[in-house]
């Protein structure tokens, strides 16, 4: 099997062959500019600009891979602000010995995800590091989005509703099961998806209703809510019974002692809006596949400001704290 060698990062012919023959061939001729920068037609008004690096073990998992993750993650970071994602960069850090077959698979997946989300990969870079210098492949993508509507931010007030665009924990549970060599046969898959179309539809239908939106990636929904309430004069109350979780995900969570509210998602947003728009926004989300399990999961309150808490089905309440790090499978 053909492998990537140190020489592929040396700036010589091997590198040119890889860029021409593999990367530009798959991502398209505009993807990696031969000059020093990509030149973009002038855009007017506000833009959103973001960057994110991606590393995941395993690289390939049901529902996605590091390539689709790197595109969708950055697309979603732009979309949740209200921007329309347009241009991405793609920077690859490859460990010596990574195979061309795997690289091609990752690039094809990036291309497919970019086409699906309607964004162009316009610039990029490739570095090869010695064996052990990286874990197979790291990808950084930066993205530019253009505002055609309002910024999706507003003043959050007690009484506002908290919406989850769908079932929580799917991505994290998928990779965690694989990473820990856990042999669960079930059709759990990552929710990795671009959310820009769904978000645009919501923003167009309810232009000034959305007060906050964030994709609930690392740390899960509970961490996003903690970021929202931190140092603010309101709190977030989540109703345990309303939180959408797939049966299989709930099953694996209970086996591993994990809480789905803290598990990563790659295709879900937490949204806060005025009470009067909440039902409408949920209905609008549900017309999209990626929002088909959207639910109102909680309320903004003025009691216990700065805290996120959960009401269990028997009516007891407890804090949903900001965890210090990723949850580990446990048997306690």
């Amino acid at each position: 099997m053909k492998e990537i060698l140190a020489g592929h990062g040396s700036g010589g012919r091997l590198m040119n062959d890889m860029i021409e023959g593999t990367i530009r061939n798959i991502l398209g001729p505009r993807s990696i500019q031969l000059d020093d920068s990509a030149v973009i037609e002038s855009v007017t008004g506000k833009i959103a600009f973001t960057t994110d690096s991606y590393t995941v073990t395993p690289l390939f998992f049901p529902g996605g891979d590091i390539g689709s993750l790197a595109v969708n993650g950055t697309v979603n970071d732009l979309a949740v602000m209200g921007a329309e994602p347009k241009y991405l960069s793609c920077s690859l850090i490859i460990e010596e010995g990574f195979t061309f077959t795997e690289l091609e698979r990752v690039l094809l997946s990036m291309k497919k995800a970019a086409d699906h989300a309607g964004v162009s990969i316009v610039t990029g870079d490739t570095k090869v590091v010695p064996k052990g210098g990286a874990d197979r492949i790291f990808i950084n993508t930066s993205g530019i989005g253009i505002f055609r509507g309002p910024l999706l931010r507003g003043e959050i007030k007690p009484g506002d509703r908290i919406i989850s665009s769908g079932t929580l924990g799917d991505h994290g549970i998928t990779v965690m099961s694989m990473r820990n060599g856990l042999e669960f046969s079930s059709d759990v898959r990552s929710d990795c998806a671009p959310l820009n179309r769904m978000i645009k539809a919501v923003a167009e239908k309810y232009p000034h209703a959305v007060k906050f939106m964030r994709d609930a990636t690392r740390g899960g929904a509970a961490s996003v809510l903690n970021e929202i309430v931190k140092d603010r004069n309101f709190s977030a109350l989540v109703y345990e019974e309303k939180v959408p979780v797939k049966d299989e995900v709930a099953g694996i969570c209970s086996l591993l002692g994990l809480d789905p509210l803290y598990v990563a998602n790659e295709g879900k947003v937490i949204l806060i809006c005025d009470e009067s728009y909440a039902e409408g926004i949920v209905s609008a989300m549900r017309t999209f596949e990626e929002g088909s399990s959207a639910e109102i999961i909680g309320t903004v309150e003025d009691k216990n400001p700065g805290k996120v808490y959960l009401e269990t089905f028997i009516g007891g309440r407890r804090i949903l704290p900001l965890l210090t790090e990723e949850q580990l499978p446990r048997i306690c």
Partner: protein
């Protein structure tokens, strides 16, 4: 679980008027966490206090155990396999998480059998499994030793820190330092050992106890049963978890424990040396006993200054009464194991207990 009935009973618990303030103790880390997580603790009537006993195996494990694990793994360049619960627990001078960052090969397993498979896939290196747990976990660890023998694995051994729970409850009651009105007894430990081994609580110490499961219904009904017993002056040991606990326990599981382990004295954090409370790997299986197979000498253990985990595990204080709690001791920077173990009482109070 019948959710409607659970809701009704939870309201009954909440509205109950106690005749006098009561202190009940649970002795299972999973109970510590579940009382918070289900919200049942939040529905306790006024005057009812739940104190946490020595029910978290990670918490009651002395520093010397982890010290020895780290020393041995370093000396023999071994792969360390452990349940996730142990990874951040501070040892005298380090922790597994810190050693991992420094390059020690530490792997989290879900089942002890996974550790066995890691040994099989790394034939050139020793694999040590850190076996910590009570009666619930001990038979699984014993089966793993039997399986290692069957597969004739030469590079796998177990560092046993296993303990049994009734002697610790006895030690606590004999010390008589803390006033307890009754016990919520551990459901899954009892699945293995049965109801009978807990009867000494009633017979010798004249206190009631209720073996309880872990879902909302189990916890609510367990507490109601215990309050009824206390207020009626009864001192029975009631099995409130009959679907999973037999009078005589799981005889096969007990047989497996007895096949592989001998009872021995063991050190408990806070409680000191408790007679016949440990499980020591029998000589027959010494080829799989890390302490015998890979001798090592850890530097003298030191305790962390000011940490009151020991008092906590004896039921003398609740976490917020420790001067370090939430100040110098937090989950990010834990001084004692009770703050870092996922089922440690301090960690549970810190995570879920903030006033709401």
């Amino acid at each position: 679980m019948n959710r409607e009935l659970t809701k009704k009973l939870a309201q009954r618990l909440r509205n109950r008027e106690l005749k006098r303030p009561l202190r009940i103790m649970e002795v299972c880390g999973t109970h510590t966490v579940q009382f918070f997580k289900t919200g049942v603790k939040n529905l306790f009537p006024d005057g009812l206090e739940l104190i946490d006993g020595p029910g978290c195996p990670v918490c009651v494990t002395e520093n010397s155990y982890l010290d020895l694990a780290i020393e041995t793994a370093g000396k023999y360049n071994a792969i360390v396999t452990t349940f996730g619960d142990m990874i951040k627990v501070p040892s005298s001078y380090s922790s597994l998480a810190r050693e991992k960052a420094r390059g020690m090969d530490i792997r989290i397993v879900y089942s002890p059998m996974d550790a066995l498979n890691i040994a099989e896939n790394n034939p050139g290196r020793e694999t040590i499994f850190l076996s910590v747990g009570f009666e619930t976990t001990a038979p699984a660890e014993a089966v793993t030793i039997l399986e290692a023998m069957k597969r004739n694995l030469k590079n796998f051994s177990v560092l046993s820190g296993n303990k049994v729970t009734p002697p610790a409850v006895r030690a606590l009651l004999e010390a008589g330092e803390t006033k307890i009105d009754g016990f919520i007894l551990p459901g899954h430990v009892s699945s293995i050992i049965g109801r009978a081994p807990w009867e000494f609580i009633s017979e010798e110490f004249r206190l009631p106890g209720v073996i309880s499961g872990f879902n909302s219904m189990d916890l609510v009904t367990g507490v109601i049963t215990l309050l009824d017993l206390i207020e009626q002056g009864e001192t029975e040991t009631v099995n409130g978890y009959r679907e999973a606990v037999r009078e005589e326990g799981n005889r096969s599981a007990i047989g497996i424990i007895e096949k592989v382990y001998d009872r021995s004295d063991a050190l408990w954090r806070g409680l000191g040396r408790i007679p016949m409370s440990g499980l020591e790997i029998k000589d027959t299986y010494s080829a799989f006993d890390t302490e015998k197979k890979l001798p090592a000498q850890a530097p003298p253990a030191v305790e962390h200054g000011g940490c009151r985990c020991g008092d906590l595990l004896r039921g003398l204080i609740i976490p917020p009464q420790c001067p370090l709690f939430g100040k110098t001791c937090t989950p990010e920077n834990a001084v004692g194991p009770c703050m870092v173990s996922s089922e440690g009482p301090c960690s549970a109070y810190y995570r879920y207990g903030g006033g709401i």
